[in-house]
Protein backbone atom coordinates (compact mmCIF):
# COMPACT_ATOMS: atom_id res chain seq x y z
CA UNK A 1 0.00 0.00 0.00
CA UNK A 2 1.36 3.42 -0.88
CA UNK A 3 0.39 6.88 0.27
CA UNK A 4 -1.94 7.42 -2.71
CA UNK A 5 -3.90 4.24 -1.93
CA UNK A 6 -4.24 5.42 1.64
CA UNK A 7 -5.49 8.90 0.75
CA UNK A 8 -7.87 7.49 -1.86
CA UNK A 9 -9.39 5.19 0.74
CA UNK A 10 -9.70 8.00 3.27
CA UNK A 11 -11.39 10.17 0.63
CA UNK A 12 -14.32 7.76 0.66
CA UNK A 13 -15.09 8.58 4.30
CA UNK A 14 -17.72 11.21 3.69
CA UNK A 15 -21.31 11.52 4.83
CA UNK A 16 -24.22 11.48 2.44
CA UNK A 17 -25.32 14.71 0.80
CA UNK A 18 -27.15 17.07 3.07
CA UNK A 19 -25.57 15.94 6.36
CA UNK A 20 -23.18 18.88 6.41
CA UNK A 21 -26.04 21.34 6.05
CA UNK A 22 -28.20 19.48 8.58
CA UNK A 23 -25.49 19.54 11.23
CA UNK A 24 -24.86 23.24 10.67
CA UNK A 25 -28.57 23.99 11.09
CA UNK A 26 -28.68 21.88 14.26
CA UNK A 27 -25.70 23.51 15.96
CA UNK A 28 -27.10 26.95 15.15
CA UNK A 29 -30.27 25.95 16.98
CA UNK A 30 -28.27 24.67 19.96
CA UNK A 31 -26.35 27.91 20.10
CA UNK A 32 -29.52 29.99 20.22
CA UNK A 33 -31.18 27.72 22.79
CA UNK A 34 -28.19 27.83 25.09
CA UNK A 35 -29.04 31.42 25.96
CA UNK A 36 -32.63 30.79 26.96
CA UNK A 37 -33.72 30.87 30.57
CA UNK A 38 -35.49 27.56 30.13
CA UNK A 39 -32.26 25.81 29.27
CA UNK A 40 -30.44 27.32 32.22
CA UNK A 41 -33.25 26.26 34.51
CA UNK A 42 -33.06 22.74 33.11
CA UNK A 43 -29.33 22.74 33.71
CA UNK A 44 -29.76 23.93 37.29
CA UNK A 45 -32.40 21.27 37.88
CA UNK A 46 -30.06 18.63 36.51
CA UNK A 47 -27.28 19.74 38.83
CA UNK A 48 -29.59 19.52 41.83
CA UNK A 49 -30.68 16.06 40.75
CA UNK A 50 -27.06 14.94 40.82
CA UNK A 51 -27.16 15.01 44.60
CA UNK A 52 -30.61 13.46 44.86
CA UNK A 53 -30.20 10.24 42.94
CA UNK A 54 -27.65 7.51 42.64
CA UNK A 55 -26.14 7.42 39.23
CA UNK A 56 -23.07 6.18 37.46
CA UNK A 57 -22.40 8.20 34.34
CA UNK A 58 -18.71 8.21 33.49
CA UNK A 59 -17.78 11.60 32.10
CA UNK A 60 -14.11 12.09 31.49
CA UNK A 61 -12.40 15.12 32.94
CA UNK A 62 -10.61 16.38 29.88
CA UNK A 63 -10.04 20.03 30.56
CA UNK A 64 -10.78 20.53 34.23
CA UNK A 65 -7.70 20.16 36.36
CA UNK A 66 -8.23 17.03 38.39
CA UNK A 67 -7.98 17.20 42.16
CA UNK A 68 -6.95 13.56 42.13
CA UNK A 69 -3.96 14.52 40.00
CA UNK A 70 -3.11 17.45 42.24
CA UNK A 71 -2.62 14.92 45.00
CA UNK A 72 -1.09 12.19 42.83
CA UNK A 73 0.76 14.01 40.04
CA UNK A 74 2.56 10.80 39.06
CA UNK A 75 -0.65 9.79 37.27
CA UNK A 76 -0.80 12.99 35.17
CA UNK A 77 -0.18 11.13 31.87
CA UNK A 78 -3.36 9.16 32.58
CA UNK A 79 -5.47 12.31 33.00
CA UNK A 80 -7.82 11.35 30.19
CA UNK A 81 -8.54 8.05 31.90
CA UNK A 82 -9.96 9.75 34.98
CA UNK A 83 -13.72 9.42 35.12
CA UNK A 84 -15.78 12.03 36.88
CA UNK A 85 -19.21 12.24 38.52
CA UNK A 86 -19.18 8.57 39.49
CA UNK A 87 -21.64 8.37 42.34
CA UNK A 88 -23.66 10.58 44.65
CA UNK A 89 -26.05 10.08 47.55
CA UNK A 90 -27.75 12.27 50.10
CA UNK A 91 -29.63 11.71 53.36
CA UNK A 92 -31.08 15.23 53.41
CA UNK A 93 -28.36 16.49 55.78
CA UNK A 94 -25.28 15.35 53.94
CA UNK A 95 -24.31 14.68 50.33
CA UNK A 96 -21.49 12.29 49.49
CA UNK A 97 -20.00 12.39 46.00
CA UNK A 98 -17.40 10.31 44.26
CA UNK A 99 -16.00 13.07 42.08
CA UNK A 100 -13.25 11.22 40.24
CA UNK A 101 -11.99 7.69 39.67
CA UNK A 102 -8.78 6.32 38.19
CA UNK A 103 -8.45 2.57 37.84
CA UNK A 104 -6.44 -0.03 36.02
CA UNK A 105 -8.45 -2.75 37.76
CA UNK A 106 -5.67 -3.46 40.28
CA UNK A 107 -4.97 0.06 41.48
CA UNK A 108 -8.16 2.01 42.10
CA UNK A 109 -8.24 5.60 43.40
CA UNK A 110 -11.29 7.79 43.98
CA UNK A 111 -11.71 11.37 45.10
CA UNK A 112 -14.62 11.42 47.54
CA UNK A 113 -16.17 14.48 49.11
CA UNK A 114 -18.86 15.20 51.67
CA UNK A 115 -20.97 18.35 51.55
CA UNK A 116 -23.14 19.46 54.45
CA UNK A 117 -26.64 20.43 53.35
CA UNK A 118 -27.84 21.85 56.67
CA UNK A 119 -26.79 22.37 60.30
CA UNK A 120 -27.21 18.68 61.15
CA UNK A 121 -24.89 17.81 58.28
CA UNK A 122 -22.39 20.51 59.30
CA UNK A 123 -22.36 19.21 62.86
CA UNK A 124 -21.83 15.61 61.73
CA UNK A 125 -19.07 16.69 59.38
CA UNK A 126 -17.22 18.62 62.07
CA UNK A 127 -17.34 15.63 64.43
CA UNK A 128 -16.55 12.83 62.01
CA UNK A 129 -13.34 11.10 63.09
CA UNK A 130 -11.58 7.92 62.07
CA UNK A 131 -8.79 5.90 63.70
CA UNK A 132 -5.95 6.92 61.41
CA UNK A 133 -4.96 7.72 57.84
CA UNK A 134 -4.68 4.47 55.89
CA UNK A 135 -7.06 1.55 56.29
CA UNK A 136 -10.26 3.23 57.44
CA UNK A 137 -12.97 0.88 58.77
CA UNK A 138 -15.81 3.33 57.96
CA UNK A 139 -14.95 4.94 54.67
CA UNK A 140 -13.27 2.61 52.24
CA UNK A 141 -13.42 0.71 48.98
CA UNK A 142 -12.93 -3.03 48.62
CA UNK A 143 -13.20 -5.48 45.75
CA UNK A 144 -16.77 -6.71 45.33
CA UNK A 145 -16.61 -10.47 45.75
CA UNK A 146 -19.67 -12.65 45.45
CA UNK A 147 -17.97 -15.99 45.89
CA UNK A 148 -15.13 -16.02 48.39
CA UNK A 149 -14.50 -19.71 47.79
CA UNK A 150 -12.96 -18.88 44.42
CA UNK A 151 -11.14 -15.76 45.53
CA UNK A 152 -7.91 -15.58 47.44
CA UNK A 153 -6.08 -12.48 46.19
CA UNK A 154 -4.73 -9.94 48.64
CA UNK A 155 -5.70 -6.30 48.82
CA UNK A 156 -5.36 -3.21 50.98
CA UNK A 157 -7.80 -0.29 51.06
CA UNK A 158 -6.09 2.96 51.97
CA UNK A 159 -8.11 6.13 52.71
CA UNK A 160 -6.41 9.49 53.12
CA UNK A 161 -8.10 12.71 54.10
CA UNK A 162 -7.15 15.91 52.28
CA UNK A 163 -7.47 18.43 55.13
CA UNK A 164 -6.25 21.39 53.07
CA UNK A 165 -9.36 21.11 50.88
CA UNK A 166 -11.75 21.10 53.83
CA UNK A 167 -14.14 23.97 54.53
CA UNK A 168 -16.93 24.40 57.06
CA UNK A 169 -19.24 22.55 54.68
CA UNK A 170 -16.92 20.10 52.94
CA UNK A 171 -14.37 17.34 53.59
CA UNK A 172 -12.34 15.51 50.96
CA UNK A 173 -10.78 12.03 50.92
CA UNK A 174 -8.79 9.90 48.52
CA UNK A 175 -10.18 6.38 48.81
CA UNK A 176 -8.69 3.42 47.02
CA UNK A 177 -7.84 -0.20 46.99
CA UNK A 178 -4.79 -2.03 45.79
CA UNK A 179 -5.35 -5.64 44.83
CA UNK A 180 -2.80 -8.30 43.94
CA UNK A 181 -4.71 -9.26 40.79
CA UNK A 182 -7.77 -8.46 38.68
CA UNK A 183 -9.61 -11.71 39.27
CA UNK A 184 -12.23 -10.36 41.65
CA UNK A 185 -15.75 -10.55 40.34
CA UNK A 186 -16.67 -8.52 37.26
CA UNK A 187 -14.53 -5.45 37.89
CA UNK A 188 -16.69 -4.04 40.66
CA UNK A 189 -15.83 -2.48 43.98
CA UNK A 190 -17.95 -2.05 47.08
CA UNK A 191 -17.80 1.43 48.53
CA UNK A 192 -18.54 1.74 52.28
CA UNK A 193 -19.38 5.18 53.60
CA UNK A 194 -20.96 6.62 56.74
CA UNK A 195 -23.80 9.14 56.59
CA UNK A 196 -25.39 11.08 59.44
CA UNK A 197 -27.65 8.23 60.59
CA UNK A 198 -26.10 4.99 59.36
CA UNK A 199 -23.34 3.31 57.43
CA UNK A 200 -24.13 2.65 53.81
CA UNK A 201 -22.56 0.94 50.82
CA UNK A 202 -22.75 1.01 47.04
CA UNK A 203 -21.39 -1.05 44.18
CA UNK A 204 -19.17 0.94 41.87
CA UNK A 205 -17.77 -0.08 38.50
CA UNK A 206 -13.99 0.01 38.91
CA UNK A 207 -13.10 -1.84 35.74
CA UNK A 208 -10.19 -0.33 33.93
CA UNK A 209 -10.34 2.32 31.23
CA UNK A 210 -6.61 1.96 30.88
CA UNK A 211 -5.25 -0.35 28.24
CA UNK A 212 -3.91 -3.53 29.81
CA UNK A 213 -1.34 -5.43 27.77
CA UNK A 214 -1.05 -9.17 28.36
CA UNK A 215 1.42 -11.70 27.08
CA UNK A 216 2.11 -15.39 27.33
CA UNK A 217 5.42 -16.18 28.99
CA UNK A 218 7.52 -18.92 27.49
CA UNK A 219 11.14 -19.75 28.22
CA UNK A 220 13.57 -22.39 27.06
CA UNK A 221 14.47 -23.52 30.56
CA UNK A 222 12.51 -23.92 33.76
CA UNK A 223 13.53 -21.49 36.48
CA UNK A 224 12.04 -23.49 39.32
CA UNK A 225 10.58 -26.86 40.13
CA UNK A 226 8.00 -25.07 42.30
CA UNK A 227 6.44 -22.72 39.76
CA UNK A 228 6.31 -21.94 36.07
CA UNK A 229 5.46 -18.36 34.90
CA UNK A 230 2.77 -18.46 32.22
CA UNK A 231 1.25 -15.02 31.75
CA UNK A 232 1.86 -11.33 32.48
CA UNK A 233 -0.47 -8.33 32.57
CA UNK A 234 1.01 -4.85 32.28
CA UNK A 235 -0.59 -1.45 32.65
CA UNK A 236 1.22 1.86 33.09
CA UNK A 237 0.47 1.56 36.82
CA UNK A 238 0.92 -2.10 37.74
CA UNK A 239 1.87 -5.62 36.77
CA UNK A 240 0.92 -9.17 37.66
CA UNK A 241 2.78 -12.34 36.75
CA UNK A 242 0.58 -15.44 36.79
CA UNK A 243 2.17 -18.86 37.12
CA UNK A 244 1.44 -22.53 37.34
CA UNK A 245 1.84 -23.98 40.82
CA UNK A 246 4.06 -27.03 40.82
CA UNK A 247 4.47 -27.27 44.58
CA UNK A 248 4.78 -23.69 45.79
CA UNK A 249 1.69 -24.36 47.86
CA UNK A 250 -0.64 -27.21 48.73
CA UNK A 251 -4.39 -26.82 49.02
CA UNK A 252 -6.67 -29.05 51.07
CA UNK A 253 -10.20 -27.71 50.95
CA UNK A 254 -9.96 -24.09 52.08
CA UNK A 255 -6.61 -24.67 53.80
CA UNK A 256 -3.50 -23.58 51.94
CA UNK A 257 0.04 -24.43 53.02
CA UNK A 258 2.67 -22.16 51.48
CA UNK A 259 5.81 -24.15 50.79
CA UNK A 260 8.09 -21.64 49.06
CA UNK A 261 11.17 -20.85 51.18
CA UNK A 262 11.63 -17.16 52.06
CA UNK A 263 15.02 -17.23 50.39
CA UNK A 264 13.42 -18.25 47.12
CA UNK A 265 10.92 -15.38 47.30
CA UNK A 266 13.73 -12.92 48.05
CA UNK A 267 15.74 -14.23 45.14
CA UNK A 268 12.72 -14.06 42.86
CA UNK A 269 12.01 -10.45 43.74
CA UNK A 270 15.63 -9.35 43.46
CA UNK A 271 16.22 -10.98 40.09
CA UNK A 272 13.10 -9.87 38.22
CA UNK A 273 13.42 -7.11 35.62
CA UNK A 274 11.36 -5.68 32.79
CA UNK A 275 13.29 -5.85 29.52
CA UNK A 276 12.87 -2.57 27.68
CA UNK A 277 13.03 -2.06 23.92
CA UNK A 278 16.10 0.17 24.26
CA UNK A 279 18.02 -2.74 25.79
CA UNK A 280 17.86 -1.57 29.40
CA UNK A 281 16.47 -3.53 32.34
CA UNK A 282 14.08 -2.00 34.83
CA UNK A 283 13.83 -3.60 38.27
CA UNK A 284 10.29 -4.21 39.49
CA UNK A 285 9.12 -4.19 43.05
CA UNK A 286 6.65 -6.92 43.92
CA UNK A 287 4.53 -6.34 46.99
CA UNK A 288 2.33 -9.39 46.73
CA UNK A 289 2.12 -13.01 45.70
CA UNK A 290 -0.53 -15.57 46.47
CA UNK A 291 -2.77 -18.38 45.42
CA UNK A 292 -5.64 -18.16 42.96
CA UNK A 293 -8.24 -20.52 41.62
CA UNK A 294 -7.90 -21.31 37.91
CA UNK A 295 -10.54 -19.41 35.93
CA UNK A 296 -10.89 -17.30 32.82
CA UNK A 297 -10.08 -14.02 34.53
CA UNK A 298 -6.67 -15.22 35.65
CA UNK A 299 -5.90 -17.17 32.49
CA UNK A 300 -6.55 -20.47 34.28
CA UNK A 301 -3.40 -20.11 36.34
CA UNK A 302 -3.41 -21.02 40.02
CA UNK A 303 -0.69 -18.73 41.30
CA UNK A 304 0.02 -14.99 41.40
CA UNK A 305 3.79 -15.22 41.43
CA UNK A 306 4.57 -11.51 41.58
CA UNK A 307 2.43 -8.39 41.48
CA UNK A 308 2.55 -4.76 42.45
CA UNK A 309 2.83 -1.23 41.19
CA UNK A 310 5.93 0.30 39.64
CA UNK A 311 8.02 2.25 42.10
CA UNK A 312 11.21 4.30 42.27
CA UNK A 313 14.06 2.04 43.26
CA UNK A 314 17.65 2.63 44.20
CA UNK A 315 19.34 -0.42 45.62
CA UNK A 316 17.23 -1.54 48.53
CA UNK A 317 15.38 1.78 48.64
CA UNK A 318 11.83 1.62 47.30
CA UNK A 319 10.15 4.98 46.84
CA UNK A 320 7.12 6.61 45.25
CA UNK A 321 4.97 5.05 42.53
CA UNK A 322 6.05 5.71 38.97
CA UNK A 323 4.45 5.00 35.58
CA UNK A 324 5.91 2.92 32.79
CA UNK A 325 5.10 2.72 29.08
CA UNK A 326 3.95 -0.90 28.65
CA UNK A 327 4.43 -0.74 24.90
CA UNK A 328 8.15 -0.29 25.41
CA UNK A 329 8.46 -3.49 27.44
CA UNK A 330 9.55 -6.41 25.28
CA UNK A 331 9.94 -9.06 27.92
CA UNK A 332 10.64 -9.95 31.51
CA UNK A 333 13.68 -11.53 33.08
CA UNK A 334 13.18 -13.79 36.08
CA UNK A 335 16.16 -15.39 37.81
CA UNK A 336 18.35 -14.79 34.77
CA UNK A 337 15.90 -16.38 32.34
CA UNK A 338 14.44 -14.10 29.66
CA UNK A 339 10.78 -14.40 28.72
CA UNK A 340 10.30 -12.42 25.52
CA UNK A 341 6.68 -11.49 25.03
CA UNK A 342 4.54 -13.27 22.49
CA UNK A 343 0.97 -12.11 21.76
Amino acid sequence: MNKKDFTNAIDTLLPIDGVKEDIWDTIQTFKKKSHTTKTWLSLAASLILVCLIIYSVPVIAAEIRSRLLEKMPVYEPLAEQIESNIFSKTDDHLCITVDELLSDGMRVYMLVHYTALDDTGRQWLSKYTYPHQGNNPDLNMQPYIEDYSTYSANYSHPTYEQPELATENERYFIVGFESSSRDYDSGQGIFYFPMTNKKESAIIDVSSNIEILSYDLKAEEKISELYDPVYIELSPMSFVVYAKNNGIYEREGNRVTWLMPHEELDLLEKTTYLLMEDGTKQPIYSDSSGTTHPKETNHYSDLVLLSGSFKEQNGDYVGMPILIEPEKVIGIEIKGQSYLFTE
Partner: protein, 163 residues
Protein backbone atom coordinates in the same frame (compact mmCIF):
# COMPACT_ATOMS: atom_id res chain seq x y z
CA UNK B 1 -16.12 33.92 17.21
CA UNK B 2 -18.39 35.80 14.82
CA UNK B 3 -20.90 33.86 12.77
CA UNK B 4 -19.21 34.59 9.45
CA UNK B 5 -15.86 33.18 10.63
CA UNK B 6 -17.59 30.20 12.25
CA UNK B 7 -19.40 29.41 9.01
CA UNK B 8 -16.18 29.67 7.02
CA UNK B 9 -14.27 27.42 9.46
CA UNK B 10 -17.15 24.94 9.41
CA UNK B 11 -17.13 24.88 5.63
CA UNK B 12 -13.34 24.52 5.45
CA UNK B 13 -12.89 21.78 8.03
CA UNK B 14 -16.15 19.85 8.16
CA UNK B 15 -14.69 17.00 6.11
CA UNK B 16 -11.53 16.83 8.24
CA UNK B 17 -13.50 16.68 11.48
CA UNK B 18 -15.91 14.13 10.03
CA UNK B 19 -13.06 11.88 8.93
CA UNK B 20 -11.34 12.07 12.32
CA UNK B 21 -14.64 11.19 13.99
CA UNK B 22 -15.32 8.33 11.61
CA UNK B 23 -11.85 6.86 12.13
CA UNK B 24 -12.52 6.79 15.86
CA UNK B 25 -16.19 5.82 15.89
CA UNK B 26 -16.33 3.55 12.80
CA UNK B 27 -20.00 4.22 12.05
CA UNK B 28 -21.50 7.10 10.10
CA UNK B 29 -24.21 7.71 12.67
CA UNK B 30 -21.68 8.11 15.50
CA UNK B 31 -19.33 10.13 13.32
CA UNK B 32 -22.16 12.56 12.59
CA UNK B 33 -22.99 12.90 16.28
CA UNK B 34 -19.39 13.54 17.26
CA UNK B 35 -18.85 15.99 14.37
CA UNK B 36 -21.89 17.91 15.52
CA UNK B 37 -20.62 17.93 19.11
CA UNK B 38 -17.17 19.13 17.99
CA UNK B 39 -18.56 22.16 16.17
CA UNK B 40 -21.00 22.80 19.03
CA UNK B 41 -17.98 23.06 21.31
CA UNK B 42 -16.42 25.55 18.91
CA UNK B 43 -19.51 27.74 19.07
CA UNK B 44 -20.29 27.32 22.76
CA UNK B 45 -16.88 27.65 24.32
CA UNK B 46 -14.60 30.67 24.42
CA UNK B 47 -12.73 29.86 21.24
CA UNK B 48 -10.28 32.53 20.13
CA UNK B 49 -9.75 32.42 16.38
CA UNK B 50 -6.17 33.18 15.33
CA UNK B 51 -5.44 31.38 12.07
CA UNK B 52 -7.16 28.74 9.98
CA UNK B 53 -4.41 26.22 10.75
CA UNK B 54 -4.73 26.75 14.50
CA UNK B 55 -8.50 26.41 14.26
CA UNK B 56 -8.06 23.16 12.33
CA UNK B 57 -5.65 21.78 14.93
CA UNK B 58 -8.06 22.78 17.72
CA UNK B 59 -10.93 21.02 15.95
CA UNK B 60 -8.89 17.82 15.46
CA UNK B 61 -7.86 17.77 19.12
CA UNK B 62 -11.41 18.46 20.29
CA UNK B 63 -12.87 15.81 17.98
CA UNK B 64 -10.28 13.27 19.16
CA UNK B 65 -10.96 13.99 22.83
CA UNK B 66 -14.72 13.81 22.39
CA UNK B 67 -14.50 10.52 20.48
CA UNK B 68 -12.09 8.98 23.00
CA UNK B 69 -14.40 9.96 25.82
CA UNK B 70 -17.38 8.54 23.99
CA UNK B 71 -15.60 5.26 23.31
CA UNK B 72 -14.86 4.82 27.01
CA UNK B 73 -18.55 4.68 27.84
CA UNK B 74 -19.57 1.15 28.51
CA UNK B 75 -22.57 1.16 26.25
CA UNK B 76 -20.35 2.11 23.31
CA UNK B 77 -17.65 -0.38 24.27
CA UNK B 78 -20.12 -3.22 24.20
CA UNK B 79 -22.06 -2.27 21.14
CA UNK B 80 -20.87 -2.70 17.60
CA UNK B 81 -17.95 -4.43 16.01
CA UNK B 82 -16.47 -3.00 12.84
CA UNK B 83 -18.12 -5.74 10.80
CA UNK B 84 -21.49 -4.83 12.25
CA UNK B 85 -20.90 -1.20 11.44
CA UNK B 86 -20.20 -1.98 7.81
CA UNK B 87 -23.63 -3.53 7.53
CA UNK B 88 -25.19 -0.37 8.88
CA UNK B 89 -23.40 2.17 6.70
CA UNK B 90 -25.46 4.06 4.23
CA UNK B 91 -25.30 2.53 0.78
CA UNK B 92 -24.29 5.85 -0.77
CA UNK B 93 -21.22 6.08 1.42
CA UNK B 94 -20.43 2.44 1.86
CA UNK B 95 -17.10 1.26 0.53
CA UNK B 96 -19.04 -1.60 -0.97
CA UNK B 97 -19.91 0.77 -3.81
CA UNK B 98 -16.27 1.59 -4.42
CA UNK B 99 -14.01 -0.14 -6.93
CA UNK B 100 -12.57 -3.41 -5.66
CA UNK B 101 -9.04 -2.15 -4.99
CA UNK B 102 -10.21 0.87 -3.03
CA UNK B 103 -12.63 -1.32 -1.13
CA UNK B 104 -9.76 -3.60 -0.16
CA UNK B 105 -7.63 -0.68 1.06
CA UNK B 106 -10.58 0.73 2.98
CA UNK B 107 -11.04 -2.55 4.82
CA UNK B 108 -7.33 -2.78 5.50
CA UNK B 109 -7.19 0.71 6.92
CA UNK B 110 -10.28 0.27 9.04
CA UNK B 111 -8.92 -2.97 10.45
CA UNK B 112 -6.08 -1.02 12.09
CA UNK B 113 -6.41 -0.29 15.79
CA UNK B 114 -7.29 3.34 16.49
CA UNK B 115 -3.97 4.02 18.17
CA UNK B 116 -2.23 3.25 14.85
CA UNK B 117 -4.89 4.58 12.51
CA UNK B 118 -5.30 8.11 13.85
CA UNK B 119 -1.58 9.05 13.74
CA UNK B 120 -1.38 7.46 10.27
CA UNK B 121 -4.28 9.60 9.07
CA UNK B 122 -2.85 12.79 10.55
CA UNK B 123 0.61 12.07 9.15
CA UNK B 124 -0.15 10.81 5.66
CA UNK B 125 -3.45 12.50 4.90
CA UNK B 126 -3.32 15.77 6.82
CA UNK B 127 0.44 16.20 6.53
CA UNK B 128 1.17 16.90 10.20
CA UNK B 129 4.65 16.23 11.58
CA UNK B 130 5.14 13.58 14.25
CA UNK B 131 5.85 16.23 16.91
CA UNK B 132 2.60 18.03 16.04
CA UNK B 133 0.64 14.76 16.16
CA UNK B 134 2.23 13.92 19.50
CA UNK B 135 1.12 17.28 20.82
CA UNK B 136 -2.43 16.81 19.52
CA UNK B 137 -2.84 13.29 20.88
CA UNK B 138 -1.02 13.94 24.17
CA UNK B 139 1.62 11.31 23.40
CA UNK B 140 5.38 11.38 23.19
CA UNK B 141 6.91 11.94 19.75
CA UNK B 142 8.73 8.63 20.02
CA UNK B 143 5.40 6.87 20.69
CA UNK B 144 3.89 8.38 17.54
CA UNK B 145 6.94 7.39 15.52
CA UNK B 146 6.67 3.83 16.83
CA UNK B 147 2.96 3.69 16.05
CA UNK B 148 3.49 4.99 12.51
CA UNK B 149 6.18 2.38 11.95
CA UNK B 150 3.91 -0.31 13.35
CA UNK B 151 1.01 0.88 11.15
CA UNK B 152 3.22 0.72 8.07
CA UNK B 153 4.31 -2.75 9.05
CA UNK B 154 0.74 -3.92 9.68
CA UNK B 155 -0.55 -2.59 6.38
CA UNK B 156 2.28 -4.29 4.51
CA UNK B 157 1.70 -7.54 6.37
CA UNK B 158 -2.00 -7.50 5.63
CA UNK B 159 -1.41 -6.91 1.94
CA UNK B 160 1.06 -9.77 1.78
CA UNK B 161 -1.39 -12.07 3.51
CA UNK B 162 -4.11 -10.91 1.12
CA UNK B 163 -1.93 -11.88 -1.84
Amino acid sequence: MDKKTAARIYDLYFNTVYKVCFLYMRTHADAQDMTQETFCQMLRRPFRYETDEKAKAWLIVTASNLCKNQLKKWWVKNRLSYEDSLLQTDSKTSPQNEPAAKNEFYHLIMSLERKYLIPTYLYYYEGYKTAEIADMLHEKTSTIQTRLAKARELLRMELEQGD
